[in-house]
């Protein structure tokens, strides 16, 4: 291939760029411009916290109705839905009310939880909620093995506004797990 005058001039230019460190200088100009137009994107985390989106999937919690009774009906669907086997439910009849069930014991091993939210989706009575809490670092991982009282406490502090009982929400709403004598009167 014959070298034309144009390519030779180009090679000369390349050579000049090499000996003057042109490419390096371009890079150094970029870093210097960041130094001069200093606009940090850092959030000083423990002092400033970012606002989390409403659908943030944080710590799990058990919820209550507005009269203070637990929503959970002990159906075990969350346990079945959980891909990491976080949840363990011990379901039982409410003493003296044979048609009504509740979770006698409810455990979550949060060391395994991957915060997928499937248990929340699976719950037929919306008894589970995901809070905005995420600062759950502890020194002993046994502290992350939460029982029902702890989960309810998380729900109490994260969900101050509670729902009415299902059967009292609307005359046409379907409900279950209510003993016959407590059935609300539906106006026609």
């Amino acid at each position: 291939m014959t070298t034309t005058a144009a390519t030779r001039r180009l090679n000369l230019l390349d050579w000049f760029k090499t000996i003057t460190f042109y490419e390096i200088l371009v890079g150094m100009k970029a870093t210097l411009s960041h130094l001069i137009h200093y606009k940090p994107i850092t959030l000083q985390y423990p002092h400033e916290k970012r606002t989390l989106p409403d659908n943030y999937r944080g710590m799990l919690a058990l919820l209550r109705y507005d009269d203070g009774t637990e929503k959970c009906v002990g159906c075990d669907l969350c346990e079945a839905a959980c891909p990491s086997r976080v949840i363990r439910v011990v379901s039982a009849e409410v003493p003296g009310e044979p048609t009504k069930r509740y979770s006698k014991e409810y455990y979550m091993d949060m060391t395994r939880c991957l915060f997928c939210g499937m248990c929340v989706d699976a719950c037929p009575v919306d008894a589970l909620g995901m809070t905005q809490e995420f600062e759950w670092a502890v020194y002993d991982k046994r502290q992350l093995h939460l029982n029902k009282e702890q989960l309810l406490a998380i729900g109490d502090r994260s969900y101050p506004v509670r729902e009415k009982r299902l059967e009292l929400q609307h005359p046409n709403v379907a409900f279950f797990n209510v003993t016959f004598k407590q059935m609300p009167h539906k106006p026609h």
Partner: protein
């Protein structure tokens, strides 16, 4: 008090002062590097300790001081202990001949003292080169004595790199030595007085601009800084030769690295950028009739030059990726060395002709 005792006391006071200043500079550098790097990368750097994170070096020092001192199993204990000292002492000892300010004398109880240089020996630059070479032993022995493959690889790499690039440093400054006709840093700096066009980077008849570039690159390589930080390449060698070190021994290597940076910056300022000389003739304070305070301006200019040079180190670190090992060697031997040698030839001829014409 005898005269000898007095001299000893004055010298020790000077040494203590210079050591204090160097250590303070190293402390500032550890913070400044993190801050400058963070600013260039749109981060904030350390912000927690003290206002805007300015007490971070003290926190780091305290942490390192109280850390457990681990000697790995199978390590050669004697050399493992010796290596950090061998790395740090040469880095600090070079400051003995650096002139920080004008070559004035001061009479203290009848003996003459040069306040801005601990010892103005007539082979100053040779002394610095000789001692910085010993620093390589610390690195190699540290790498070998750790009984770890990463340390050994880091040590080997750094040995090859330091030896290759020390050669270039040595050859790059020969041009300056030809121009100045002296090895004393005080004399070399004094020969550059009278404005920035007398600095050896730009000086007639043989501007040492190429030698300066070679010196800067080789100095970066010799202090194992990015983009030549192969000995401690985090992504390949964990931490290089000080992988196994912890606590104060690690701190010694760390201080040695930063002290070396300050040292090469001081040498660059003294040899190429006129040392304490201002970029204009004389001193501003001298022109205003404050001749007795002119030394302050000299020291200020020296400080500005050194810190400018140190800023360049950070700037390069924020910009450049690491070289490959063969590129490093090729660059050192096939590019830097011929340029440095050619510079010596050109400078020698130019100075010879200049002296014949005079």
């Amino acid at each position: 008090m005898t005269e000898l005792g007095l001299r000893l006391a004055v010298s020790l006071a000077q040494i203590a002062a210079v050591m204090g200043i160097v250590m303070l500079t190293v402390m500032i550098l550890t913070l400044a590097e993190r801050k400058v790097l963070a600013w260039m990368q749109d981060r904030m750097g350390p912000m927690e300790v003290g206002f805007y994170g300015i007490l971070q070096p003290i926190a780091d020092g305290l942490k390192l001081f109280f850390k457990e001192d681990i000697v790995p199993a199978g390590a050669n204990k004697f050399l493992f202990t010796l290596a950090p000292i061998l790395a740090m002492v040469p880095a600090l000892i070079g400051f003995a001949v650096i002139p920080f300010g004008p070559d004035q004398t001061l009479d203290v109880f009848g003996i003459t003292v040069k306040p801005f240089v601990i010892s103005d020996i007539n082979i100053g630059i040779l002394y610095i080169l000789a001692f910085t070479s010993i620093g390589a032993y610390g690195i190699i022995l540290g790498g070998w004595a750790s009984n770890s493959k990463y340390s050994l690889l880091g040590g080997l790499r750094s040995a090859a790199q330091i030896i290759s690039y020390e050669l270039n440093v040595g050859l790059a400054i020969v041009g300056v030595l030809i121009l100045a006709g002296s090895l004393s840093l005080v004399k070399i700096t004094e020969a550059q007085a009278g404005g920035f066009w007398h600095w050896y980077v730009f000086a007639f008849p043989a501007p040492q601009i190429f030698a300066f570039v070679v010196y800067v690159i080789s100095a970066v390589a010799e202090t194992n800084r990015v983009p030549f930080d192969l000995p401690e390449a985090e992504s390949e060698l964990v931490a290089g030769f000080f992988t196994e070190y912890s606590g104060m021994r690690f701190a010694f290597f760390f201080i040695a690295e930063y002290a070396n940076m300050v040292l090469v910056s001081c040498v660059a300022a003294a040899l190429f950028l006129g040392g304490w000389n201002a970029p204009y003739p004389g001193t501003l304070l001298g022109h205003f009739g404050l001749e007795s305070l002119a030394w302050a301006e000299g020291v200020a200019w020296f400080t500005i030059k050194v810190y400018g040079f140190l800023f360049l180190f950070f700037w390069l670190r924020a910009t450049l990726p690491r070289l490959r090992y063969d590129q490093l060697m090729k660059f050192g031997w096939k590019v830097m060395l011929p340029i440095a040698l050619g510079n010596i030839v050109v400078t020698a001829i130019a100075v010879f002709i200049y002296q014949q014409m005079k």
